[in-house]
Symmetry: C3
Subunit: 229 residues, 3 copies
Amino acid sequence: MIPQDLASVSPALTRYARDTLLFGLWKRPGLSRRDRAVITVAALIARNQAGELPFYMNYALDHGVQPRELSEIITHLSFYAGWGNGITAAQVAAKIFAERSIGADQLPPASPSLLPIDQAAEDRRARTVEETVGSVSPGLVKDTGEVLFRDLWRRPDLAARDRSMVTVVALISNGQVQQMPFHLSRAMDNGLSRDEASELVSHVAYYAGWPAAFSSVSVVKGVFDAARK
Amino acid sequence: MIPQDLASVSPALTRYARDTLLFGLWKRPGLSRRDRAVITVAALIARNQAGELPFYMNYALDHGVQPRELSEIITHLSFYAGWGNGITAAQVAAKIFAERSIGADQLPPASPSLLPIDQAAEDRRARTVEETVGSVSPGLVKDTGEVLFRDLWRRPDLAARDRSMVTVVALISNGQVQQMPFHLSRAMDNGLSRDEASELVSHVAYYAGWPAAFSSVSVVKGVFDAARK
Amino acid sequence: MIPQDLASVSPALTRYARDTLLFGLWKRPGLSRRDRAVITVAALIARNQAGELPFYMNYALDHGVQPRELSEIITHLSFYAGWGNGITAAQVAAKIFAERSIGADQLPPASPSLLPIDQAAEDRRARTVEETVGSVSPGLVKDTGEVLFRDLWRRPDLAARDRSMVTVVALISNGQVQQMPFHLSRAMDNGLSRDEASELVSHVAYYAGWPAAFSSVSVVKGVFDAARK
């Protein structure tokens, strides 16, 4: 977390790394360390920052994230942050898994039994996407249903709450706030508490930059207000 | 397209790479393989993903993209995605061109005879930019005319349709949808069909991430609706 | 500025590098070379383009940017562009500082005496952030005050005008225009002239891509119009 180079360029960064991040942000309540690790890894994958990934992937594995969960986070973000981001993350993880002797038996199968689907909710989602996207890109409508919501999202080795959480982190990190209302509502339906979502925004500010966090605020507010009704 | 590391981290990614991308997306109608290669290379350059570029640049050259076209795509995106992105892409291409013994005789000259200009359309464009940008940044107005529209866009070694296509891909990939109406209309005027544009959105979803594609949908719809009138 | 690889891929890029950038953009009035170097380094850090950083960091140090200023730019953008961007930039700078024998005595201390604060302005800022962000993320409100405005922004080794300038560059470069009104007004209050801001937009177009510059135009116009009243 505190590379040696920092001190020879910015003693202040060393101080912030230690006091503000390590003994500040990462120790405060609102989110478990395990969740902070998941959020940080997701932000780094979403922004394709391979340099920082080894430290935080190892940290995640040391603080309760299972290899199968990390595998699924990478798979999930290959679609929500872009294929190349997934490949980059997989290459970093491959080294770490080898170092830790994490073998195929600890990985999710390519085609597991999928979680049951909430057909009414899926029908609503499919109808909305058909209405908004159907006349623009039938291919996108088809893939969103077949590849993402009827396959990827139903894979069992990452909890729905965590899957939603990394999706929301990717959206904030890449400034794609348009899709936040759907995914943050879904995250809260899937068990992310309001306090956790609040602190998630604040944690992401450090790893995706302050402006990304601030740009998400009005959208998060809209979801919180709607949830209260 | 399927790095070996994938299997040791995510057997699912290997399955998606093969079934969903290689034997799915890349084989479906709507866009030629050559166009898919151009679009993918453009998305990777726009997002500065050097790791994936060698595979897809080689794929492009193997599927009908000429070296002079690849050269122009890099030159064009140096302005539409940022100078550093162009340099990164040129460094990757330099190795590939050397391996394939592609020499200077296959490259576009630095200063070729430029394509004729549609003076009425250029006058309209210049007037609009002067009205919207003139009071903010005279330098940007000047460079947009002199460097881009009266020079770069008139270079003959990349078809106007392809030049527009990579511009649109860069805008979607980087979430810069504000400039989409102008450039997507121009792409369609330059010969990109509506069906190709539809499938382009869907192809880009994989390489720039789903949220980028979804964020472009309402803008694409606006252009399609206007074109229908 | 002109890597050798360019010529073997795009003779045009070599021409643009020389005529349009080196003997064009970088020599024109509106901004000093020193400011252009600061802006370019900020754009590259904001976009995490490590490959281009060594050239421009050296150029900055050769054209009037002090090591302590470069150190502070990196520290500042660690928050405004993301922690990983700061680490990447620090790693590049560490090599350059070692090559130039820039030692600890030339770096800003971790905890210097902070600049005095304009309490009325800070109270206004804190009130606005509390009103807009307080119900969404108390952690973000707290850190924005404690870490950024009552600490980072008051560090003395980078002029307030330069600190604002690199913040604005980061916002344009990453398409985060929502926060531009506050930070561009602040930049102008801190001494960035209107002509300098105009030319900044035009300079950033080259290094962050044309679409990023164009997307900032309407927001910059709003700030200019408000300042004129």
